[in-house]
Amino acid sequence: MSDEAIIDLLQRAPFSFVGTIEHLGAAAMEVPVDDRTAVVYVDRVLHGPDVLLGLGGQRITLQLAADAYPPDVGETAAFFAQAIAFGESVAVAEVGRLPLEHVEPQMRLAAEAGERALGVFEHRVETLNLCKHAAEADAVVLGRVVKLEMASSKGAPGVSEHDPDWWVATLHVHHVERGEVKPGKVRVLYANSLDVRWRAAPKPKASESGLWLLHRPDGELAKVVPFAILHAEDRQAVQSLDAMREYWS
């Protein structure tokens, strides 16, 4: 099994674990049960968000994929899953499955290095996603924030709690990696609102340096500024540029 298979599964499944099937047609919590519902003992969490990392040593409910062969009771495998329900226990739905021997070498290496079981692959997935996002940008530049100001055209202020509260950051661009931008000052629109809608959008700080993924705004906003940074990943550490160059090459 290639590394690409693991990466593909990591991109589709936010949670993975090595588990042993204990019961079929049963559940460890109140969820609909059919013959593809299984109670699984979690031998080890391979990857997942922080709140799920403590599931090792517990029994959870696994809804097996309809298009995969049903495992036998006692069978151990690496399961890649999406969450269905959280109660006293957890229920997940299988997205994919790998034989244990296909992830064991990586688990061993990670244990020796004191890292997460699939940490190397998780990092590659993160980089891959970042590079895909960067490829959609209209310009990729290195620069420093030299000015912050309220946007001159803010629309009708105060009419919605989700208003973006447009501001403009002036970047002093000293390196253009991609896009039709000249080094020097570039004005960039951003959402200064702390509303839930804009919580993850970059909010540049004075003198902040970094790698900026610039996107041309739509409609009326295009008349205000040439670029905008609205996606959570539009501001990156300078070091990310190496990964992008490698991806593009």
Binding site: P32, G48, P49, A85, G87, G158
Partner: protein, 589 residues
């Protein structure tokens, strides 16, 4: 006096989470009030493709997150509502990172299958779901109303309050009959985000919204009207929601209140700007309450909650309650006895305090007041707006009130004067949350809390109990239950163990002495008054049942007469042999 149970809704398996789970909402299945659904700004903890709802099938004692909302791992604004019969759940959501509103439906609220998208429209805000049912030609039909603020481009006006109405939403394919009615087409630049609705079984539907009449200063200062519109036929009139208007006035709707707001101003770590609630009395569709918040003026920093009441179907409004100086998130409901519930969140003394007030006199007498939660307003630090939410919700089913609010989840008994139970791992002795390992500390965050008020003691309300502890009835509570039973002579234990629906119970006792109505007839499942048309005429019910309803209404009249003469008692505590059990002797009953 009633009893209230407060439950932290975060499931045990998510003991390690620290999200800002603000802006909660709630739906209670009127047919089976043990079935409850709630929402909040809670992401799928695993970061998957569906956002969760909170589901309880045991009356709110325990909760499970189920990932069934399509469109991403988290929603923005989200509200929910159950139909009166049939158990269909509806949701209105704004998708994450967008302005797209979806109206969703599922016939199986506890399933793990995604909800069905019925309506999909951009440039919307704050969908607010209210659902009911009516029987037509022997078939239960779901009436569903989704208030919203629609910013579709229109000439000479900005975003306007609106309502999407479906008169038969339960099974039809998308869009399931939903059609939009703009409500805010009136003088003034735009409507503010909340559009709230209240429906009555007789077909009366009230819609309230806040309409800006003047925007000035930096644009965040605004004068506004609290406008109420009404439809007397389920929103099915040719000109919907136009049955309420001043004489000689072309524009439909009546101004219930006038105020000033500084929109998106802050109060503690929270923002303010548009707070609104409306509720209709289920015993009388002419009586309707509206709550809103108002600032005294440009130089003020207050945000006062005021409640107004109309007893003539919205024509005239009288002021009945004010709470200040810094209050938000009013939530109103009226129960089957005509008792009004008002929940709200007040910033006072460096704390957010969530209270529930209950009154049967429209606050002419002091209300029964329960402090549900009080905790420092500076902890935890805000992750985003809204900090605790732009709204909470209160719902009445029968005589009971059900509600939800969000707040600081520190497991400190001093924060929960009415008691609380937690599912997530919590150490009340050391006032610290713990991960699922029961050892590792977890930082405090904002959690949703469910509450349930009823006239009978609920055994889970002992402060600081974990679920496991709560499942074991403590001796002291057992003895309190026993005392209550002993004061009601003639009840078997089984009857006493059944939460009394007081009016129904008393009616039954009386009816046993009256020939002509058999016990079997009285034991028929209570058909909701939603089966009646606007004039109270049964639609599509058999003549025999209509006859029974007539007999029952006659019995109620007799009962009311006996109550007036002191020969019968609506509430058990009024009985001389029981006596009141007030926490506060002066509180309103």
């Amino acid at each position: 006096m009633g009893f209230v149970r407060v439950v932290n809704m975060m499931p045990a398996s998510l003991s390690g989470e620290t999200n800002q789970d603000s802006e909660p909402n709630l739906a209670v299945n009127p047919e089976r009030p043990t079935d409850i659904v709630a929402t909040a700004f809670t992401p799928d903890p695993a970061g998957g493709a569906f956002a969760p709802i909170y589901v309880s099938t045991d009356g709110g004692r325990t909760w499970v997150l189920r990932n069934v909302i399509p469109g991403g791992s988290m929603t923005r604004d989200i509200t929910v509502g159950f139909s009166t019969t049939g158990g269909v759940l509806y949701a209105g959501v704004i998708l994450q990172n967008s302005v797209r509103m979806q109206i969703l439906r599922t016939p199986t609220f506890a399933a793990t299958t995604p909800m069905t998208v019925l309506v999909n429209r951009d440039l919307e805000d704050q969908p607010w779901v209210v659902a009911g049912s009516v029987v037509i030609n022997g078939r239960s039909v779901d009436r569903v109303y989704v208030g919203n603020r629609d910013a579709q481009p229109r000439p000479a006006v900005g975003a306007v309050a609106a309502v999407d109405v479906s008169l038969d939403a339960a099974t039809a394919p998308a869009p399931a009959g939903f059609r939009e009615t703009p409500l805010g087409l009136r003088r003034g630049p735009f409507s503010l985000p909340p559009t709230r609705l209240a429906i009555h079984p007789d077909g009366t539907v009230y819609a309230a919204f806040i309409h800006c009449t003047r925007q000035f200063g930096d644009g965040n200062n605004m004068d506004f009207h609290v406008v109420v519109r009404r439809d007397d036929n389920w929103g099915d009139n040719v000109d919907p929601f136009s049955d309420l208007r001043r004489p000689f006035q072309k524009t439909p709707g009546v101004v219930a209140d006038i105020g000033f707001a500084r929109f998106n101003d802050t109060m503690g770590q929270e923002r303010i700007g548009a707070d609104l609630a409306i509720a209709v009395d289920p015993t009388d569709s002419s009586t309707v309450y509206v709550a809103s918040c108002i600032r005294g003026g440009e130089s003020s920093t207050d945000w006062r909650l005021s409640v107004r009441r109309s007893t003539d179907r919205g024509q005239e409004w009288e002021f009945v309650r004010e709470i200040g100086p810094t209050v938000k998130n009013p939530a109103l409901a009226v129960n089957a006895e005509g008792r009004v519930g008002l929940a709200y969140q007040e910033l006072t003394g460096g704390q957010w305090v969530t209270r529930l007030e209950l009154t049967r006199s429209a606050w002419a007498n002091p209300p029964e007041t329960k402090v549900l939660h009080q905790a420092p307003s500076g902890t935890p630090a805000r992750a985003f707006f809204p900090y605790i939410g732009d709204y909470i919700r209160l719902i009445a089913v029968g005589n009971d009130f059900y509600g939800v609010f969000s707040g600081n989840n520190t497991p400190d008994l001093a924060n929960f004067p009415s008691g609380v139970s937690y599912q997530r791992s919590a150490d009340f002795t050391n006032r610290v949350l713990l991960r699922t390992d029961g050892v590792t500390p977890v930082a405090p965050s904002i959690d949703p809390f469910f509450f349930h008020w009823s006239r009978t003691k609920q055994t889970e309300t002992k402060p600081g109990l974990t679920k496991a502890e709560a499942d074991t009835p403590p001796k002291s509570i057992k003895s309190e239950t026993k005392e209550t039973v002993e004061t009601k002579p003639g009840l078997t234990k089984a009857e006493a163990d059944t939460p009394p629906k007081s009016v129904k119970a008393e009616t039954k006792e009386l009816s046993d002495t009256k020939p002509g109505i058999g016990k079997a007839e009285l034991d028929l499942p209570p058909k909701s008054a939603f089966e009646h048309g606007p004039k109270g005429v049964p639609h599509g019910v058999p003549e025999a049942f209509a006859s029974l309803l007539l007999k029952l209404s006659q019995r109620v009249e007799v009962l009311e007469g006996q109550v007036a003469q002191g020969r019968a008692f609506i509430r058990p505590e009024e009985r001389p042999d029981v006596g009141p059990a007030h926490d506060d002797p002066s509180a309103d009953e």
